[in-house]
Every structure is written in structure tokens, then in C-alpha cells.
């Protein structure tokens, strides 16, 4: 199997580190070599954060080689668009469309780039939804990233049983049920376009 490279972009506080961790643990359970990064910077909340996971038979560097991203998970639209320079024409874009304004947009100095983001994802095979709203309907907006994982799971050689077992072992006990629902929702409602 060729190494699969997954990029994650988000905002501090959205749970990117846990999401990266879950992907790594699921990949290992499925028998693959795996390496990841998280870069969280200065702030606990609100700053730009990103992570990467590489899954394969043998993975050397945890860093995704430029242009080799297979899947990008944008936990926030702008934070998905930010990484376009490491994507390629076959990259799958999975984007939570719930906008979290950065300071320059909160202060009306720079308009939030909604149009630019639309142009961005239209260049790629994309899967979009307000996953936060979807997760809220299912019981808890915090399970948004699990919906994204459900969408992504369709493209990875890891069984849904392994994903669910990993989620069960890594989310708080009282959140297990909503995470199971969130995963299924993502897995079933965003069918592959290619």
C-alpha cells in the first residue's frame, strides 16, 4: 500500500489533537505503521492549529512531503483553505463549513474569505457540511470531528469496527453514544464521488 497522507487544519479548542490521536490509534490497530504531528502554537484557544497523519507499510518522517496530501480534514473552512499549497489535484477535501472568525475578521479589518474558500474546495473532490450543526442534532456539537472521521473512513483501509472501537476507548464515557451516531452519520451520508 502507498502511504496515505492526511492533513488536519483547525482552530485551537476544536479537538484537533484528540482527532489526530484517534486516527493514529485506529491505523495502528489495523496493522499499519503510522506517524503524526500536531502543532498547537501559543494559544490554548482560538489560534491556528494543524496536524498530520501518515499511514502505510513503513513511514519514515511524520511530515507530509509537499504536494503529497491525500485527504485534508478542515475542522474550520479557512483552516482547510490555508493548506492548499500542500494539496494536489487528487486530494479529497472534507470541510466543516461552520465558520470561526479569526481576529482580523472579527475586527472587520479583513473580510472572512467565504468566496475564496468556495473557489478553493470546488477545485477538489469535496465533502462538506456544517458538521457542528449535524453533531448538535445528533446530541452534541463537540462530536463534529467524529462526523468528519466517518466521512473519511470511507477512503481508508480501516474497518468501521476498528474506528468505533478506537473511538469508544478514547472519548469520555458519556460521549460514546453520540460519537457512535456521529461516526455512522458521516459514514453513511456522504457517499464517495469517485
Amino acid at each position: 500500500m502507498e502511504t496515505i497522507n492526511i492533513m488536519l487544519g483547525g482552530v485551537g479548542g476544536q479537538g484537533l489533537v484528540l482527532t489526530t490521536d484517534v486516527i493514529c490509534k485506529a491505523a495502528l490497530k489495523a496493522g499499519y505503521d503510522v506517524k503524526s504531528n500536531d502543532v498547537i502554537g501559543l494559544a490554548q484557544r482560538g489560534g491556528m492549529v494543524w496536524g498530520s497523519v501518515r499511514i502505510g507499510e513503513k513511514v519514515h518522517s511524520p511530515n507530509i512531503p509537499a504536494g503529497k496530501t491525500d485527504i485534508i480534514l478542515g475542522l474550520e473552512p479557512l483552516e482547510g483553505q490555508r493548506w492548499e499549497h500542500i494539496l494536489n489535484k487528487n486530494t479529497k477535501v472534507i470541510l466543516n463549513t461552520k465558520e470561526v472568525y479569526p481576529t482580523p475578521s472579527l475586527l472587520e479589518k479583513v473580510q472572512y474569505p467565504s468566496e475564496k474558500i468556495k473557489e478553493f474546495y470546488q477545485r477538489y473532490e469535496h465533502y462538506l457540511s456544517d458538521f457542528s450543526a449535524d453533531a448538535k442534532k445528533l446530541g452534541n456539537a463537540k462530536a463534529a470531528n467524529t462526523v468528519l472521521l466517518g466521512v473519511m473512513a470511507q477512503f481508508l483501509p480501516i474497518s468501521t469496527d476498528i474506528w468505533k472501537e478506537t473511538l469508544r476507548e478514547n472519548v469520555p464515557e458519556k460521549a460514546i453514544e453520540v460519537n457512535m451516531k456521529a461516526f455512522d452519520y458521516g459514514y453513511e451520508n456522504f457517499k464517495p464521488k469517485s
Binding site: K35, G46, G47
Partner: protein, 623 residues
């Protein structure tokens, strides 16, 4: 591949596990990125004593004590932490180590979360320590264990030097069993433990001898590995993550991976130099390995092809090796980043720092800042931090600037801000020093942001946390300490009572002399505000943007149906309920949910005043 026994761990978790498996018994640290999770993780092991000390210096001293007493001990800290710990370190490392001793230093090439980029391998060499540099989480476990073994066998303090990327990267590991180590005895031996001349004269020689002996181990140690390829005349010497970044390129070069980067075996390097035409060293930051090899009289190259600053990714390694002529063409598809809106970090919703810096901005004060979440006050829209240097430096700098201004006729009131954690770490000596050569014309106001949390690193306790939660055991009362020093003018504020806080800051900054203001609200991330969230009534909002300028994540201008002008809005999912926006609103357009709007009261200020009573602010002397 059988992954049954495998786990994925971060490098930080690996260090913690390695400490445990090595039979480590005592660990101390001060929270700092990228190494904070090491002690967080060590705390899970019941057999071990672990503490976050008040500073890296104290943490190092606690670990020295553990080593003296004969048990395997580790101090872990970020690179700049070693600066404050350097004083005990530089004397301690002269001693013949008793219980195994490891100093874990987390370097930050690229400065993802640090105020500088210093290369602490220099520190390790300076302090005559052996240095191991893990490349992934398995190395983190294995090298930590090896470091303890070497430390005890060679009576040598060891440094494990890890970079931020390895700290946070997750890679598969296989766990081992814990090895219980027989504690050694502390026996009175003044020549060994009392660092004064003439004892130290002899020790200069024994330190040198220890490192020379370790060079012999380095010759064929399993920590260093040689991967030779046929048909190449180039040897790349590298260490840490860069080994994996190089492997990613799959080049026809031989690789000497140094797990132990100090000392390097001259015998081994001479053998390799005889075999290879070119030796190229790939390392981040300073040319430490390169210079060591050059000092052996062996020609090698390195920094002429690779940057002295930032991280070296596979693409950078490829580019450097192309410059060096080792490879002729690259595979890299590196492109410049796309244009995108910056997302600078900001105070959390409900952060108690927000009203303080909103007030300081409005009062147009010169603010001497410090290290902590409040460093972010330097960003827009507050821009209310005019200097940030190092932990606790604000106190001395504020005094020095005030004295210099007085001498040169530029008198200006200065505000110094410092968090409680930073104050306990290294602000207190500065506070005592203010008492020396006091001048009644000096105008300095020290605002202590007592949020009872080391917030920026993820909410570790401070020495004041026990005042707020029974989960923490230290209950130092800051006001009592400052008063006991002899400072008379000390006031407390609840910064969620915006007007009252503004009044106190205005009064104190307008009056000459030394003032202390202790802002008492705890970190909103660690101690949730149990309050109603707020909403904007767009029919009342006049669009003045006072609330927006507090830069709270959920607050922004929005287009409402049937209203032409943009009006403020609050995202209910993100609002924490601090009420600061409601209090800066001039027309009471912001109201708590679940209560009847009461335009005769300012937002929930009434509620907050009741809270202030509950917090028992102790200002009776002033009132």
C-alpha cells in the same frame, strides 16, 4: 506486521514511559511547551514522586536532591528553562553522580511556542554532560533508559535533548517492564558534594575524564547506527527527527545516525573519514556536531548548505544536498503558501485578562509585559504590551525604565503585568528589590493577574491554586506576601466588575509611588464560569463596536434580517458568560439569556457585584 503489543505514543509520553521503565523514582518540572506533557504523564505512575515545582531552577534542585539521595531522578523543562536552572546545573554537574540523573531539555527549532531558539546541546556540552537525542517515541523510551544507565555507570549527569516536533509527534512503540533499581546511599563526602575550591580543582579533571571515557562507549554504542550503501562516497551524519526526514528521501548516501550527539567518538569518525570522500552533517540550529568533527581535524561540511534557524524538513534536506552537489535533481513539489487570513491567537471567551487589557488600552498606558497567556495582549486589538523578555523580567525592567526615565526627565507612569505562576517562578525577588532606593516620584503599578493557573501550558496549578480549589494543595496568599515585604499599597479587584476595576487602575496609575493591584478572577478554561450566556438585541445596538473591540471569539458584527446597518452578535455556542461585553456596551443592548432584560442595570454587573462580595476582596484599608 503484528501490532498487538504496539501502542502509539507521543515523544513526550515516550520520555515519561522511559523514565518509568528505567526505575525512575523522582521527577520534577516546570510547565513549558514543548515538554509539559512529560510530567503530566509521569504523574500516572503511582510508584513515582512527581511535581511541578515553582520554577525550573527549583525543579532541577529537587532532582539533584533525588540523585544525591541515590534514586534515579529527572528534571524536565523547555530549553529556556535551563537558563534559570543553569546556576545549580553548572556546579552540580561537576559532582560524581550518585543516583542516575537526567536533565530533559525540550528545544524548539522554528519557535512554535517559545521566545527564542537557543540550541541547548551547547548547554549540555558546556555543563560537561553526555547528550542523547531521540528521533521518535521509541527512541524517547530507549534513550531515557540508556541515559540513566550511563549516568550511573559513568557517574555522569546526562542530558536528553528532544525537539518540539519529536515531543508532539506520535509513533508506534513497544513497551517494556519497569526495572526496579536498588537505591544508592548518600554518604558524607565533602569533596564529592561540596562545590568549593579546592574540591572543584580536582573535579575539572574528573569531568574531562568522564567525557573521554564516554567517547570510548560512543565508538560502538548501539545508540549510534551506521547504514552503509554501496556505490556512494558520501556519508551523512545526522541525529533526531532529521534522520527520518532524510530516510524519507531514499537517497544513495550512507548515514551515520548519532543517538549520542555528545561526545562523538574521534576513532569512529576517523575510520569513517578514511572510507568516505565527503562527510556532510545535517543538524538543526547550531553547527554543534559539525564543529566537533572539525575539531577532530576531520574535514566535513554542513551549515553552508543548511539553515541555521528553523526546522529542516525533507524538502530542506533535499535542497541542501542539491546545493552540495550530492544529488542532482529533487523530487520536491514545494510551493509557497497560499494567501490566507492570519489567525493570531487570542484570549479565550470568558478570559479574565480581557477586561484588564481593554482598560489598559483605553487608558493608553505603557505596559511592560511578561510570559503567559497575557503575552497575547501585544496583538491587535489591544496592543497593550510594550515588551516581553523572559519569566518575571517585567518587574526589574519596569524599575530600570522608571529610574532611567527619572534621570533623564522623561517621567512616565509604567504598568507592569505578571501572572501568579510567573510571579512565584521569578517575580518575587524583583518585588523585594523595588524597596531599595524607593523614590516617591516613581510611578509604577504592578498588576498581578492571579488566575490561579499556569494557563498557557494547559492549566497546571500554581502556588495560589489551592485558594480556589481543594484539588490543589498550595494556598499562598499573594496579598499577604506583598504586604509582608513592606509594600503598603496593595488592592484587589474582580475584573468582571469592569467599572470598579477601571476606577482602581485609573487611580493607581495616576498616583506616584508603587502600587499593586491583584486581579482575582480565575482562568475561565480551568474554572468554568457557571453563568448565563449573553445575546445582542440588534434593535437596541447602535453599532459602536465597543464589544467587538474586546476581541472575544464569539462577538462580531452581523447583518440581521430587516436591519440595514451591521449590528453586533454573539455566537451562543462559544459565549462563556463573563458579561464584560455587556458592561462595555453604552446602551445595554447585550443581555443575559434567561433573565428579563433590565435596562436600569448594566448587563449582569449586578450579579457580578454579588460575586465580588462572595470573593471577599480584601480592600478594607483602602476604603
Amino acid at each position: 506486521m503484528n501490532n498487538q503489543e504496539k501502542l502509539v505514543l507521543t515523544g513526550n509520553q515516550g520520555i515519561a514511559r522511559g523514565f518509568y521503565e528505567a526505575g525512575g523514582l523522582l521527577a520534577a518540572s516546570y510547565p513549558g511547551s514543548p515538554t509539559v506533557e512529560i510530567l503530566d504523564n509521569i504523574k500516572q505512575y503511582k510508584e513515582v514522586y512527581a511535581e511541578f515545582s515553582t520554577s525550573e531552577k527549583v525543579a532541577l534542585e529537587v532532582a539533584i536532591g533525588g540523585s544525591f539521595a541515590g534514586v534515579r531522578s529527572m528534571a524536565s523543562m523547555k530549553h529556556v528553562g535551563v537558563n534559570i536552572a543553569a546556576d545549580p546545573l553548572m556546579s552540580f554537574t561537576q559532582t560524581k553522580t550518585n543516583g542516575g540523573f537526567v536533565l530533559l531539555s525540550g528545544d524548539d527549532p522554528g519557535m512554535a511556542s517559545s521566545q527564542n531558539e537557543q540550541d541547548n546541546r551547547i548547554f549540555g556540552k558546556f555543563a560537561n554532560m553526555g547528550i542523547l537525542a531521540p528521533s521518535d517515541s521509541q527512541d524517547a523510551i530507549d534513550y531515557t533508559k540508556a541515559a540513566f544507565d550511563i549516568s550511573e555507570e559513568y557517574h555522569l549527569p546526562m542530558m536528553v535533548n528532544i525537539t518540539s516536533r519529536v515531543c508532539h509527534s506520535r509513533t508506534p512503540v513497544v513497551l517494556g517492564e519497569r526495572k526496579e533499581v536498588e537505591p544508592r546511599k548518600f554518604e558524607k563526602d565533602v569533596e564529592r558534594y561540596c562545590m568549593i575550591p579546592p574540591h572543584t580543582h580536582k573535579l575539572q579533571h574528573s569531568m574531562k575524564e568522564r567525557i573521554e571515557k564516554l567517547q570510548e562507549l560512543a565508538y560502538d554504542s548501539k545508540l549510534n547506527s551506521l547504514e552503509e550503501k554501496e556505490g556512494t562516497d558520501t556519508l551523512v551524519v545526522t541525529s533526531g527527527l532529521l534522520y527520518h526526514n532524510l530516510k524519507e528521501l531514499d537517497l544513495n548516501v550512507s548515514i551515520y545516525k548519532l543517538g549520542m550527539i555528545h561526545p562523538i567518538s574521534p576513532k569512529k569518525l576517523r575510520e569513517l573519514a578514511d572510507k568516505y570522500e565527503r562527510i556532510i552533517v545535517i543538524e538543526e540550529l547550531m553547527p554543534v556536531i559539525e564543529n566537533d568533527i572539525k575539531l577532530m581535524g576531520i574535514p566535513c561540511e554542513g551549515k553552508k548548505y543548511f539553515s541555521f534557524t528553523g526546522e529542516l524538513h525533507s524538502e530542506d534536506i533535499e535542497e541542501g544536498l542539491m546545493k552540495a552537489g550530492v544529488i542532482t535533481e529533487g523530487k520536491s513539489e514545494k510551493r509557497p503558501p497560499v494567501e490566507s487570513v492570519k489567525r493570531t491567537p487570542l484570549f479565550c471567551a470568558g478570559c479574565p485578562h480581557r477586561p484588564i487589557f481593554d482598560i489598559l488600552k483605553k487608558l493608553r498606558k505603557r505596559v511592560i509585559g511578561d510570559i503567559g497567556c497575557y503575552s497575547m495582549a501585544m496583538f491587535e486589538p489591544f496592543q497593550a504590551s510594550d515588551s516581553i523578555i523572559s519569566m518575571g523580567a517585567t518587574v526589574g525592567i519596569t524599575k530600570g525604565m522608571t529610574k532611567a526615565n527619572g534621570l533623564t526627565g522623561k517621567s512616565e507612569p509604567l504598568v507592569s503585568v505578571i501572572g501568579d505562576g510567573t510571579m512565584f517562578h521569578s517575580g518575587l525577588p524583583g518585588f523585594v528589590n523595588l524597596l531599595h532606593q524607593k523614590d516617591e516620584n516613581d510611578n509604577m503599578t504592578f498588576i498581578i493577574l492571579d488566575n490561579r493557573t499556569t494557563a498557557m501550558t494547559g492549566g497546571q496549578a500554581t502556588a495560589a491554586s489551592g485558594n480556589y480549589t481543594s484539588a490543589d494543595d498550595m494556598k499562598v496568599d499573594i496579598k499577604t506576601i506583598i504586604k509582608a515585604m513592606g509594600h503598603e499599597n496593595v488592592r484587589e479587584v474582580d475584573q468582571f466588575d469592569y467599572e470598579a476595576t477601571k476606577k482602581v487602575i485609573t487611580e493607581e496609575t495616576n498616583k506616584p509611588g508603587i502600587s499593586f493591584i491583584i486581579a482575582k478572577r480565575p482562568c475561565a478554561l480551568k474554572f468554568k464560569i457557571q453563568e448565563n450566556t449573553f445575546y445582542v438585541n440588534p434593535n437596541v445596538c447602535i453599532g459602536c463596536r465597543n464589544c467587538v473591540k474586546t476581541n472575544c471569539p464569539p462577538i462580531r458584527m452581523k447583518k440581521y434580517h430587516n436591519i440595514d446597518k451591521l449590528k453586533s452578535s454573539i455566537d451562543p455556542d462559544m459565549c462563556a458568560g463573563c458579561s464584560v461585553c455587556a458592561q462595555v456596551c453604552p446602551v445595554d443592548a447585550i443581555q443575559p439569556k434567561g433573565q428579563h432584560p433590565d435596562h436600569s442595570k448594566k448587563g449582569s454587573a449586578k450579579y457580578m457585584r454579588q460575586e465580588t462580595q462572595k470573593m471577599k476582596l480584601n480592600n478594607e484599608e483602602q476604603e
